[in-house]
Symmetry: C2
Subunit: 199 residues, 2 copies
């Protein structure tokens, strides 16, 4: 069976960089954007649209684990969100079967739970996340600290809702992960080297 | 400045074993029981009594960070708990000044916050904690799973209250730590080897 590492991450915590470096350290395939591309190819939807659906919480009063039987196909937006989720699940399973890999986001820890992945969660203090976002922002972006903080919290909130909707679990709850790494003081590079030993 | 590793841990998660092994890997001093002994020596209280005070939450309506000014010395039990806490803080600071070390429990992450310790939290799923406790229990102990589970949760609850009372922070909240390690699938030994690289 292939070795799988899944990475959940707070926005601005450096989780993607950590994932990429970890894949390099281990010689594993690294999938992030490729998951979106794969879904787009299989659904005839644009990559941008798929991303938009995946980054917004599904609009429903009930998580899918509770409310499945209550929805009888009456909501086309929700149906599409679900169809994309299912396509995503199929792609993740194929990726996991093809080779050892590191997968970022996309409820991969839950979708691949039967493969026993090593489940990582990456987080950081807000100050550190603000700094990282500033470093990566386009030069003409002129958000105040307050606006940037709200943006960060907004992305996290959507990730949390999406995750909870499809998994019935609490996003970022340490019991759902094998290791939670705070990148405030230990950078993604050093963390990746140490974590490679655990996998 | 010496390198300090502090370890908070859920009862039954193997945090002490991880700490001992980590100290071995790093060639650091390891302090756990020694902290109790030190307090006992300096306060003329028995080690057993000190342990009892430290393992029960202080009896007060307000955390010390909030309520300090409300207590004017009217509660001898609370005064003693505080005196022991202060002795403990003094001992931890001495230990941190003497050599590189690994310190288990005792709010060390908070007490030594100015020394920039590497702050570890060790946890595990309940099934794994039950198993570990059974393995370590005396042969004649005949607790049911339910009783043992209650005992485990009770110890954790006291640790959480004690920590929150003296630090004003939430025990086990991942933002208070640099790394949170789930020992359910990765044993303390393997975890210690990888963590040594991060310190």
């Amino acid at each position: 069976m292939n070795k799988i590492v899944t990475i959940g991450r707070e926005f601005g915590s450096g989780g993607r960089e950590l994932g990429r470096r970890l894949a390099e350290e281990l010689g594993f395939a690294y999938y992030d954007r490729e998951i979106l591309t794969g879904i787009a190819e299989r659904t005839a939807l644009s990559e941008g649209y798929v991303q938009q659906v995946l980054e917004h919480r599904p609009v429903s009063l009930f998580p899918i684990t509770v409310g499945r039987s209550l929805h009888l196909g009456g909501d086309p937006m929700l149906d599409q969100s679900r169809a994309i989720y299912q396509q995503q699940a199929r792609i993740l399973k194929e990726m996991a079967q093809n080779s050892n890999c590191v997968l970022v986001g996309r409820c991969a820890d839950y979708i691949l739970r039967d493969e026993g992945p090593f489940r990582l969660f990456v987080y950081a203090e807000m100050e550190s996340r603000l700094r990282r976002c500033r470093e990566k922002a386009p030069e003409n972006e002129q958000l105040t600290d307050k606006e940037l903080r709200q943006q960060i919290l907004g992305v996290d909130k959507n990730r949390a809702k999406y995750y909870e909707f499809y998994t019935g679990r609490r996003w970022g709850d340490k019991l759902n992960y094998d290791l939670c790494v705070n990148t405030t003081r230990t950078g993604p590079k050093e963390a990746a080297q140490a974590i490679a030993r655990l996998v």
